[in-house]
Each structure stands twice: as C-alpha cells, then as structure tokens.
Symmetry: C2
Subunit: 369 residues, 2 copies
C-alpha cells in the first residue's frame, strides 16, 4: 500500500483522556469505534482523500466507479453518519425551515403542518417545529430557532408577530400565515399568506340571513387573531349590505367550555338570538350540543354555524354548516415561499390569499342532514 499522506497533517493527537482499561481502544482493528466515524476515518479506510469521500457522498462530481465502491464500503463498514452541522457550516445553509404555531389541537394546525412538512421535505429541507403556547419566553425561543434555520413560517395567531420581527432582526425570511398586514411592522423581509375570510364570512352570514333569521350573534373574540376579525368584518358587511345593524361580537376564548357557557347564557335568556355565527367549529359544536341537550331545536329554534370544517362537523346531527379552508395548501405555500426567498427571491409585495369554501349542512337551516 502506498504511503497515504496524513490527511490532516497538523492534527494534534486527541487529548488522551486518562482512559480506563474498560474503554475499548477505538483504533483496535475490527472493533466498532465508540465515537462516531468521521469523513477522515472513512477516507483513511477507503484509501482516498476526504475530498473524494465528500464527492461520493454528495454525488455531484465525477468519481471513478472503483473509487466510489471503495468509499461506499468504508462508509458501510464504519457505520458512518455525516455530521449535519459541519455540512451546514461549510455550505452556509441550515437546510431547515422553522414553523411556529401556537399548539396542535384540532385539525387546522395539523393540516397546516403536514402541508408544510411535505413541501419542505420535497425541497430537501428539514422542519423544526416550535409550539408557542406554554413557552414562557416566546421571543427568545424564536430567536433560538432562528439560529438553526434558513427561514421561518409563523402562524398569525401565534402571538409572535409583534415581537417576531424584533427577535429575528430582519435577518431571515419570514412568512406569516393567516396573519394581517398589521403584523408586519418593519415588514421588509416578511410576507403574508392567508385564506380568504371576509368574503366567505359575508357569504355565510348572508346565507343565514336568507334562512329568515334576523337576530344573529357573532361568537368569538376578533381582537387577538387577525383572521377572526376579518371574519367578523364579513359578518358586519353582510348586515350592512341589507341595512341591518350587526350585533357586537360575543367575545369569548376558543374553548369548548366557553361554548358551553355561551349556550347557558342563551338558555337563561341573557343572550337572545335566532342564529349564531361562530368563529370556529369547536365553539359552534359545543354550543349546539349544549343547546340540544337542553331541549332546544337546532336549527328550528336557533341556527348555528361554524368555521374550519373539522371532522366532528360531519358527524353531529344536524351536520354543522361551516367553511372549509385550504389549510394544507397554506402550509405548502408557506414552505414554497420560504424556499424561494432563501433562494434569493424578493418578498411578495402583497399577501397571497387562497379561496375558501362554504360547506352547507343542516345546522343553518338547510334541508341537508
């Protein structure tokens, strides 16, 4: 065998830890080295330089078939697993995108995440997930995330955007999902993707009005979430269009328990309505069930509609009338935009808005079950 030049001539001998006799000597031939193999050990074993090993592994440079085989064998024999961090450092890309969402209850976030992950994976990017709820210091968590990704997608409702830009310092491309432009203060490197809200909410509200209902209540708090306030705007618009006076929203958090409370306020007469337009399906479902359990007829006595089209909305009777959002596509789009941006594309000047679809079932008064 030709004298292989030391691959890393100056490399000091590993600081010899006063090794106990029980530690197997990594250099023992045949023994699996306790610590991971590196590109150096692979190169040495294959009798080539580290550059060649890298070329084989990256697969984007010409290497003779014989050499390739030698390298692959060495990789296999040594159980070589490359160190991603070293590659990232060298190529100056993390090859990962961050996704920040509040939590993962209900199908909305899951769908979004699946879309995002799927597209990211296709693009060869890993996904690092950050759940904002329950974190005491979200900005610093996002800051830490920024440390390890090439771009970040954030849900508008994640309560991050205001502080986000500061945390990121405009350093990385950011895509805000289902947020409003008001979330983008400096806004240079931030862009928006969202599902349509105002129009479909107006449409849904108009539909309920068409059923002859006149005292509609909007249930859910528009304040914190931009998409909810857009939906309320649609609710208002539908009223205004017919010269009606929209009621103030019934501001409650999006919790099943809150829905029950709202239903109780209706049952007690505190709240009066013949139709409820709810900010999401969870709310709508818990209200409807409570009303029914108390003997009220839905939609006979009171109509109830929701938003999101969760699975349960198909199963309850009457079926819940609601609005389906292209959530999966939203996730795909976010990943896609991030990729473009990392590739050097300029941020889109205007938000991308995906269309939604009103799903009519029985709870609004339609004849469908």
């Amino acid at each position: 065998m030709a004298t292989t030049p030391r691959q890393r001539p100056e490399r000091a001998a590993r600081p010899s830890t006063p090794s106990t006799a029980s530690m197997p000597d990594p250099s023992t031939p045949g023994a699996t080295p306790a610590a991971g193999a590196t590109i150096y050990s692979v190169a040495e074993r294959a009798g080539v330089s580290i550059a060649t090993v890298s070329r084989v592994l990256q697969g984007r440079a010409v290497v003779s078939e014989a050499t390739r085989q030698k390298v692959l064998e060495a990789v296999d024999a040594l159980h070589y697993v490359p160190l991603g961090a070293a590659r990232s450092l060298a190529v100056r890309h993390h090859e990962a995108y961050g996704l920040v969402i509040p939590e993962l209850t209900g199908p909305y976030y899951s769908e979004l995440l699946m879309g995002f992950e799927t597209r990211a994976a296709e693009l060869g990017q890993s996904v690092i997930l950050l759940l904002a709820n329950g974190k005491s210091d979200v900005p610093s968590a996002v800051g830490h995330l920024a440390t390890r990704v090439d771009g970040i997608a954030v849900l508008g409702s994640a309560a991050v955007p205001p502080t986000l830009t500061r945390a990121l310092r405009g350093r990385k491309p950011v895509v805000v999902i289902a947020g409003s432009s008001s979330d983008v203060p400096g806004g240079e490197r931030v862009e928006l993707v969202a599902a349509e809200n105002v129009h479909s909410s107006e449409q849904l509200t108009a539909h309920v009005l068409d059923h002859g209902r006149s005292r509609l209540l909007y249930v859910g708090d528009p304040a914190p979430a931009p998409d909810i306030s857009e939906r309320y705007a649609g609710f208002v618009a539908a009223h205004t269009a017919r010269g009606l006076d929209p009621a103030e929203p019934v501001r409650v958090p999006f919790l099943e328990s809150e829905g029950v409370a709202v239903a109780d306020r209706i049952l007690s007469g505190e709240l009066e309505a013949d139709a409820l337009v709810c900010a999401n399906d969870e709310l709508a479902l818990s209200i409807m069930t409570r009303l029914q359990d108390a003997g009220r007829d839905v939609p006979g006595d009171i109509a109830v509609v929701g938003w999101d089209d969760v699975m349960t909305s198909r199963y309850v009777r009457p079926g819940m009338t609601t609005v389906r959002q292209p959530v999966h596509e939203l996730g795909v789009l976010a990943a896609e935009r991030l990729h473009q941006r990392v590739d050097g594309a300029a941020p889109l000047p205007a938000p991308v808005v995906l269309p939604t679809e009103v799903v009519l079932r029985g709870s609004c008064g339609c004849a469908t079950p």
Copy 2:
C-alpha cells in the same frame, strides 16, 4: 481607539466577487451589512475578543458588567444572529431530537407531538419532525434526519423500525413509541415506550360481554401495527377467559370510508354481530353513524366501542365508549428518555408501559348518554 489586534490574523480577504455597482458595500458605515454579522464583527465592534462575545452570549462565564454591556450593544446594533451549525460543530451536539411519525391526522399524533416538543423544549432541544407517510424513501429520509439530531423517537406504526436500525447503524439513541419488541432487531441502542393495550382491551371487551352481548366482532387490522395486535390479543383473552370463541378480526384500514363499508356489510347481513370492538375511534364513529343513519339503534341493536377517546367521541349520541391513552405523557417520556440517553444513560432493558383508562359512555350499552 487602541489598535485592536486583528481577530483572525491569517484570515484572507473575502474573495472579492466582481461586485456589481448595485450591490451596497457591506462595509459602508451605517448600512446594515447584507450578509449576516458573525461573532467576529460583534467582537470587533465591541472592542473585545470573540471569546468574550461567546462568554457573554453563553452566559456561563464571568464577564465584567461593562464588557457585557458593550457586547450586548454590538449584538443589537449588528442584528447578530448566531449560527447554530457552528455552535453545534464546536460543542459536538446538535441539541435537537428527531421525531418520526406516519402523519398527523386525528388527535393521537398531535398529542404525542405536543408532549414531545414540550419536554424537548424544556430540555433546550429543538424538534425536527419527519412525517413518514408519503415519503418515497423513508430509510434515507431517516438517515438524513440522523445527520442533524442527537437522538430519534419513532412511532412503532410508522413502518420504519425494521429498516430504521439499519439506517441509523446503531449510531444514535432511538426510542420506539408504541412499538413492540419485535421491532428491535439488533436492539442495542433502541428502547421502547408504550401505552398499555392488552389488559385494557380485555377489560373493555369483558365490559361489552357483561352487557350481555355474545357475537362480538373486532374491526381493524392487527397485522401492521403492534399496538393494534395487542388490542386484539386483549379481545381474544376476554373471550378465552369465559370459554368463548373469539371471531377473526375484520381486517380493514383505519379510514372513515372503510368504517362506512363495514357498516354496510353489517346492514346487508354479510357480517353479523351485536357488538363491535373497533381498533380506533375513527372507525367506530364512522360505523356507528352509518348504522344510525340506516335506522339501526346503537347500542340497542348493536353496541360499538372504539379506542383513543377523540373529541368527536364526546359529541356523538350516544357517547362513544372508548379507551383513553396517556398520549401526551408518551411524548414527554420519549423526549425524556432520549435526553437521558444522549447524556450517557444506558438504554432501559425493558419497555416502559403507561396505563390507559377505559371511558364508559353510552355506545356500549351503559346508561350514560
């Protein structure tokens, strides 16, 4: 200003790209550098060495308050975002764990993921998510994941385990969630965490039998998923314990549409039963709804029970009798174990099994709504 020694004396001048005039000169004072600030620029601006900057940022070494302030100011002024990859390389830890699950439909995976992410975040670790379904080459995806994490948690049903160990080459700690020991071939660095299945399934089945039912069917395919086959084992055990003959499982995939098909086979008389023990709630719910829509009485004519206790199971009437699993805890536990293992702990020799809880509602024949 004292002559600051060049921080990186030998550092060659950046290979001057034949820069077009349109590119702003990064060195222009006041201008935000186009490329990210590094620890060097921060050190230079603060008039200290990079070591000091690092110390301030890591916060675990004594630095005088004055110096700390100078550094923090520089960090702020330059919008410095550290490069995680460089840190990872230096500290020789990715500070991230991988989680491999099939997909994200239903609350099961979401809960698991939330538990995992929560605990991982507490431990200062990022979570890289990999959805196995839809990936054409899962082993290579897992291999790539292994490149960037210190340990991996995999769902037993993710169809990964058989190939997983090979992909990882025993290089990283692995925790298999809700898998069976048979998933662990070489098994050296792999350990298992799971929810109890056999006993609670036996208990649930016995409960249904106690309602006076005698012709029970098990719906769902035990073959691919270890947890499902354990549940079927419990079904069998309950029968055997009373000298009854358990029916062969009705092997169908876990899809709503399949549930509808099963219901149709019952309605047509092809399948005969007075109680259905379903592998999960999705199946149970779609079957029950279909039967009801066709005029059958549940539980009068036929009882239906599920597994998982999804949200819908609380909303349907009758409520779905089911089994609640400590899914969140499973996620927490997986992250916890991974952390221990990365810390040097030995793999647990025996699987950790968390208890589950039978939730009785009306669909089994109980008086509860």
